[in-house]
């Protein structure tokens, strides 16, 4: 077991794995990595199980010292990382020598970058997951974002010596997040005025500053439900596009509330949820309707691609 010292936490850095689904009846949402594909591939690059816990950085990365060294990989967006004076690109594994410091800066692409460490980040699991759930202050490191001075332990991985890996260029191209988000109809789609349904697909929506892991707030043409009364609170799914009375849609995200009382016009398809994790404030998105069958086919194809993806020698 070795440690990582947090010299600077970055803007908002939390421990995340693939979350804790299965506790919706307690009001606990799954949480987990905002871009689970980046986490899974980052972990594969360091020889971890895909769901090992890693550090999720947001918009601005941190500075981390590795007193005993480590094998690491960065997944997701390019945060201009450097190890000592050497530039570090995302999507490849590399050795950190004892005492070296990894410095990340502001993003050069999307919202999130994952620091995956061979052995994973070792924290006490809450309901079977290391993921931080900020709203309830549970999971991760004391249920909070990292602070300067935190010392994180990494887990051990038994077995043979590890061979370094990298993601091929074509794969990286395919991993560029989508700004055109495919959606299926939400359970209250029919409750929206025809003009609102049309506007939802026709216009560009902009991600608002106050977006976070609970929800992405969107700015754009307001959407109006025909029946304006409050509906009966019901379970809400990840990626649901709910519309409060003001008409400004909110996409429910990984730390979502489990139930809600606003009508949902649409739901982002499972295959495009990782792209949500890379959206920054002021990014512009557009919604594209697909059927559930199409959504399922896209997801199956994505998973086939991920399973077939071979990692090469760097």
């Amino acid at each position: 077991m070795s440690v990582i010292r947090v010299l600077a936490p970055g803007l908002f850095t939390t421990v995340q794995d693939l979350g804790r689904p299965g506790f919706g009846s307690l009001g606990v949402s799954a949480s987990g990595a905002a871009d689970p594909i980046a986490l899974r591939l980052g972990n594969r690059l360091v020889g971890n199980p895909e769901g090992a816990a890693a550090l999720e950085m947001t918009l601005l990365g941190g500075t981390f010292e590795f007193p005993e060294g480590a094998v690491i990989a960065l997944g997701g967006s390019d945060f201009g990382a450097a190890l000592g004076n050497a530039q570090v690109l995302p999507w490849l594994s590399l050795d950190v020598s004892p005492g070296q410091t990894l410095t990340l800066g502001p993003t050069r692409s999307g919202a999130r970058c994952y620091l995956c460490v061979r052995g994973g980040i070792a924290v006490k699991p809450f309901l079977g997951s290391a993921s931080t759930h900020l709203l309830s202050g549970l999971g991760g490191v004391e249920g909070r974002p990292l602070r300067k001075g935190d010392v994180l332990e990494t887990g051990g991985i038994p077995g043979a010596a590890f061979r370094k890996r990298a993601l091929v260029a074509e794969a990286q191209e395919r991993l560029v997040p989508r700004k055109r988000l495919r959606v299926t109809r939400g359970p209250q789609y029919d409750a929206f005025a025809e003009v609102s349904r049309h506007a939802f697909y026709a216009h560009i929506y902009r991600v608002a500053e106050e977006s976070n892991r609970m929800g992405l707030r969107l700015e754009g043409p307001p959407l109006l439900a025909e029946s304006s009364g409050e509906m009966i609170t019901e379970g809400v799914s990840l990626g649901a596009v709910q519309v409060p009375p003001g008409g400004r849609p909110i996409i429910l995200f990984v730390e979502q509330q489990t139930t809600g009382g606003y009508p949902k016009i649409a739901n982002v398809i499972a295959a495009d949820l990782p792209s949500l994790g890379q959206l920054r404030p002021r990014d512009e998105v557009q919604f594209e309707p697909v059927t559930i069958d199409e959504a399922r086919a896209v997801l199956a194809e994505q998973e086939r691609w991920l399973a077939s993806l071979e990692l090469m020698e760097p």
């Binding site: 009001g27 939400g186 379970g235 799914s237």
Partner: protein, 233 residues
Amino acid sequence: MASDEETPGPRFQPASDQSLLVYFGERISLDAHRQVLRLLRLLEQRPIGGVINVHPAYCSLLVVFDALRMEHHELEAVLRRYILEAADAPIPEPREVEVPVCYGGEFGPDLEEVAAWHGLTPAQAIECHSAATYTVYFLGFVPGFAYLGEVSPELVTPRLPAPRRRVPAGSVGIAGSQTGVYPVATPGGWRLLGRTPSRMFRLDRTPMSLLAIGDQVRFTPISRDRFAQLERA
């Protein structure tokens, strides 16, 4: 089996490409609640392969599943069988839970306004809120948040027009005919009548949530001193 207006069959509605909503009627009722509870219990006892998560609510259940393993119509067919089977399942005797509440003052900043809204004194509003026995319809929103119903018609009050940015943990509020306790500090639009020193959700306790779906809950008025005492305990 013949169906009548009192017990309509369940309605299924895809919520996303990986979730399915099951509605037991379209209004809040104890009958719908019992159907939700029965199905939830059966799903807990005999989990369906491929089902990842379940979000119960007043008269519906959201079932999240692995879209690579099953399709909506396949899940619906299995759930229909479960619902038929669950219809005869007995519901265990509900637990009774008492939640102490210090009403008014800084703990219940909306008490006076709610009372005035209904032409009551604050004391009458407290009496009204604490006289009823509430059913936990479901837990939702955030960990350990129990949706309790139903508030006496004398006290039914809409949400705040603009939610508070931060409602302190333990706050007891009402919204429409619902009442509940905020387990953690969150933004919230419910009108706050008081605060409980009880911890609604804690990791070092089994079960973690003080309240569970189906429980019968009563709020007991306590003094500020008693609040401080219990909070220290």
